[in-house]
């Protein structure tokens, strides 16, 4: 396979020195702003990590380069740049575990593949249990993970105190910690670099990326998709992918498709930067919050979704207070720190809490939706498998369980066991 980047566009230490020595470094843009043609083999709606990765692997693995990615806002401005950057694969159910492990293996080599530093840091994922019963359930999940050949282990309180020394494991806490599931290969990746890296790679392979172009219509003729309308321009397409996270219901409706989805808002926060103190991603489960520390030293705190349908990318103080309270319960020293920034994103959650990836009832139209708050970690795997699905016309093996059809047949993938209540997943 030919290299993705010609020598003069590869990032390298030599290039860094060469550009650094110039009075005015003239780095070429990482990707070009394309003016769309009137027709493409494939049009991908949504320039997030998933859409861009799909475009990249269409070009790289299948030689399909006549591809357009349209993005409503700007690259890195959507949920790809708004999540808490966690990667892991310790899922209970076979379908979700296999797809996320496929992704985790890809993350391990992705910076080299994309010639872009994604700052993948396998610092360990620590999932706290607050009772013996919960630790039993986590042991079941750890064993299921290990049976798939993936790493996961259970730590008791003493082992946990050595693994995460600043964690408050005192027995008189409001929700005392009984132990934890740990996946040492889990961790974080620089989220917006993922969007930028895939955009640059896709662009180098000939994919067109057009920002500031919301899809306003999808043309369907006798059950087959024929075109996408963006900014009033008609762009003919052989195949179309909808990969727009929180707005999936709205965009799918343009093609007459109703989805088993509800949209909600999820918030995250960062503190002021401090010296390195938390060397793992730690998740609290008496109520759900997850904490990690960036390389800059900021403590990143994620919380729970709003709990009702919303398209407003801002959240309520209740959720901020809850997330902060849980973070302080884990790490009491956080109580003296200030939050610097807070933001929200719109997530779409399905009726079983797992994604819909694959064909739709409209011929040539493919869906990638319903990732809720688990989408970031799956980014490279979705790109790889969805590209193969488009190229061959048959769902990739790993995607087969994630069909839209499963809701009608009853083959649900409900990791949380919460039932058809998206606000409960």
């Amino acid at each position: 396979m030919a290299p993705v980047f010609p020598p003069d566009r590869r990032y390298s230490i030599g290039g860094l020195i060469r550009h650094g020595l110039r009075r005015r470094p003239d780095w070429p843009p990482a990707w070009r702003k394309a003016s769309p043609k009137t027709s493409y083999d494939v049009v991908i709606i949504g320039g997030g990590g998933h859409g861009l990765a799909t475009a990249y692997y269409l070009a790289r693995n299948h030689g399909i380069r006549d591809v357009l990615v349209i993005e409503r806002g700007w690259i890195g401005g959507g949920n790809t740049g708004r999540n808490t950057t966690i990667i892991r694969s310790d899922y209970l159910l076979e379908a979700s575990g296999r797809l996320k492990e496929f992704a985790l293996k890809m993350w391990e080599g992705l910076s080299g593949e994309l010639n872009y530093n994604l700052m993948v840091s396998q610092r360990g994922w620590v999932d706290l249990a607050h009772s013996d019963a919960e630790l039993e359930a986590f042991t079941l999940r750890a064993n299921a993970t290990r049976l798939r050949g993936t790493d996961a282990r259970i730590l008791n309180r003493e082992e946990l105190a050595r693994r995460v020394p600043v964690l408050d494991i005192s027995p008189d806490a409001r929700f005392p910690i009984a132990g934890a599931l740990v996946q040492e290969r889990g961790g974080t990746a620089r989220h917006d670099a993922v969007a930028w890296g895939f955009a640059r790679g896709a662009d180098a392979l000939g994919v067109h990326i057009a920002e500031g172009r919301p899809a306003t219509g999808i043309e369907v003729d006798q059950g087959k998709v024929t075109a996408v309308i963006a900014n009033g321009e008609r762009i003919a397409a052989g195949q179309v992918v909808i990969s727009v996270a929180g707005h999936s219901s709205e965009v799918a409706r343009m093609a007459g498709i109703e989805l088993p989805l509800e949209s909600g808002a999820l918030q995250a926060f960062v503190s002021e930067p401090v010296k390195p103190v938390i060397d793992a991603v730690v998740s609290y489960n008496a109520g759900f919050s997850y904490v990690s520390q960036t390389d800059k030293g900021e403590v990143v705190i994620g919380g729970q979704p709003e709990g009702y349908n919303t398209y407003a990318a801002r959240g309520s103080f209740i959720r901020i207070e809850e997330a902060a309270r849980r973070a302080i319960a884990m790490f009491p020293f956080l109580a003296g720190m200030r939050l610097m920034r807070q933001w929200g994103g719109i997530i779409d959650v399905t009726m079983d809490g797992n994604a819909i990836v694959g064909p739709s009832p409209v011929d040539g139209l493919y869906l990638n939706a319903g990732w809720g708050y688990t989408g970031f970690k799956a980014t490279p795997a979705v790109g790889w498998t969805l590209a193969e699905t488009l190229a061959t016309g048959k769902p990739h093996d790993l995607l087969r369980p994630f069909s839209l059809e499963r809701f009608a047949t009853g083959a649900l993938i409900d990791d949380a066991g919460a039932g058809p209540y998206p606000y409960a997943h």
Partner: protein, 92 residues
């Protein structure tokens, strides 16, 4: 934070309520005639509109009545609230 005007208790914080999802889904009749597709449409499929949404809220830490709230999912503006157990005739 939503402020929901309960018809019995007045304006109350969202934290007093429990969300109950869309109030516009019609359950198939229990006469054995509904098939898998009908139940799928009722149990799983949602309009999920970006705009006006008709939804259930339970005033669980208040009067304990189920309410039907007409809310805009983008602006959170609440257009109408009524008790779910009262028909439009009863309310008039």
């Amino acid at each position: 934070m939503l402020l929901i005007p309960c018809p019995w208790c007045g304006e109350r914080d969202e934290s007093e309520f429990t969300y109950g999802g869309s109030a516009e889904r019609a359950m198939p009749a229990l006469d054995g005639k509904a098939g898998m597709r009908d139940w799928h449409a009722f149990v799983h499929v949602r309009d999920n509109p970006r705009g006006q949404h008709c939804e259930y809220w339970h005033h669980s830490h208040g009067c304990e009545r189920w309410l039907i709230v007409e809310r805009d999912t983008l602006t959170h503006g609440i257009a109408e609230v009524h008790d779910a157990a009262l028909s439009s005739d009863d309310r008039a």
